[in-house]
Symmetry: C2
Subunit: 189 residues, 2 copies
DNA sequence: GTAAAACGTTGACATAGGACAAGAATCATA
DNA sequence: TATGATTCTTGTCCTATGTCAACGTTTTAC
């Protein structure tokens, strides 16, 4: 149950047996179906999720009702609506499983308890923030000035599993192009 | 000299006199002309800057040589090429003053010394990361699915000083539209 | 297992906005 | 202060990509 999380934690800092158990104790297992909403647009983010199996998508919608995908969390990633988790304002984004998934869930208050109690966990939080920052920057800035074809090539280079794992529509909404355009580009590769 | 920095620090955490002096001691004042490069594309980011006066721009260029502006740091903000500062890889972006400026500069090693020595400074670093993350997300995701006019309106709402403070060209490269388009839109507002 | 709904693909069409250029305005340098 | 360089504005033109629609395929739900 905790193998993947253990691997994640130990790759970031040194924990002894007791500390690991203390960390685990705060996580609760959640099994979900496909397309389950974990967090709604107006809700405040109170949980951090670790993906044990499956995939969680972070997305929002425009006024016109089009979905815009911001992030896909696959096995071994932490995910939440971070801005809301940090400042406790309504998320203005959705968290959704896009496959039957198994998640480890920790509440915000428990999360910060661990951050304040275990220096290793403080370090992990800092790294999550740093990495989140870097990844988001690379992804989004990487797209600046790219046309549709360049974006698709970028994603094939940098997240090759993505195009095969998620639907055409979701991938398109992640790339910021229309499903038609993505479909046309794929057929020409 | 340290008034603006003092205000910044005290707004984030409680420091006593001695601690403040210790923080100050690691910052060195830099006075720059307009358009001075603080960090080049291939360099590794070794300094964090606090803007006392003036403005620092973070930008990069496309293969075709077009500039893309990522961030403007005005008075009272910290700025560096954070991904490079964190992982010590070449920055792939530029730091440049766009006005005659006065900066407080701390080296990376001193910065991390403070982070590890003073809990308040740890907290400030966490907040810088959190805030940087939130601001970057809001800014960039805020633009997803916006057309040029919506972007301009967004910027007028959210960073009203920006359009008057920086050149048309730089503002356009920040918004991800061409200078011509920005010019046309402004004339129609 | 079947009907309904959602999705993917492809075509025809419309358009936002980029590229380029030229003249006016502003800025930099000596 | 003069002159060359850069930037701003605005026109014309063009292309990438969005929209809409039709149709076949896949998924969902009862």
């Amino acid at each position: 149950m905790y193998t993947t999380l253990k691997r994640f934690l130990e790759s970031k800092a040194d924990f002894n047996r007791l500390e690991l158990d203390e960390v685990y104790a705060h996580f609760r297992v959640i099994k979900t179906k496909r397309n389950e909403i974990l967090l709604d647009y107006d809700q405040v983010s109170k949980h951090y999720y670790f993906v044990n199996k499956g995939c969680v998508r972070l997305f929002t919608t425009t006024k016109e009702g089009n979905e815009i995908t911001r992030y896909f969390a696959f096995k071994g990633s932490f995910v939440t609506a971070l801005p809301s988790f940090i400042d406790q304002q309504p998320a203005e984004e959705f968290l959704q499983t896009i496959e039957k998934s198994e998640l480890l869930c920790i509440t915000r208050s428990d999360f910060y308890k661990l951050v304040n109690k275990l220096p290793q966990f403080t370090k992990i939080y800092t790294e999550i923030l740093e990495l989140g920052f870097i990844v988001a920057q690379k992804r989004i800035y990487g797209f600046q000035g790219y046309d549709a074809l360049q974006k698709v090539k970028w994603i094939i280079q940098n997240q090759p599993q993505l195009l095969v794992r998620v639907s055409n529509k979701m991938a398109a909404s992640y790339l910021g192009i229309s499903p038609s355009t993505l479909s046309r580009i794929k057929s020409r590769l």
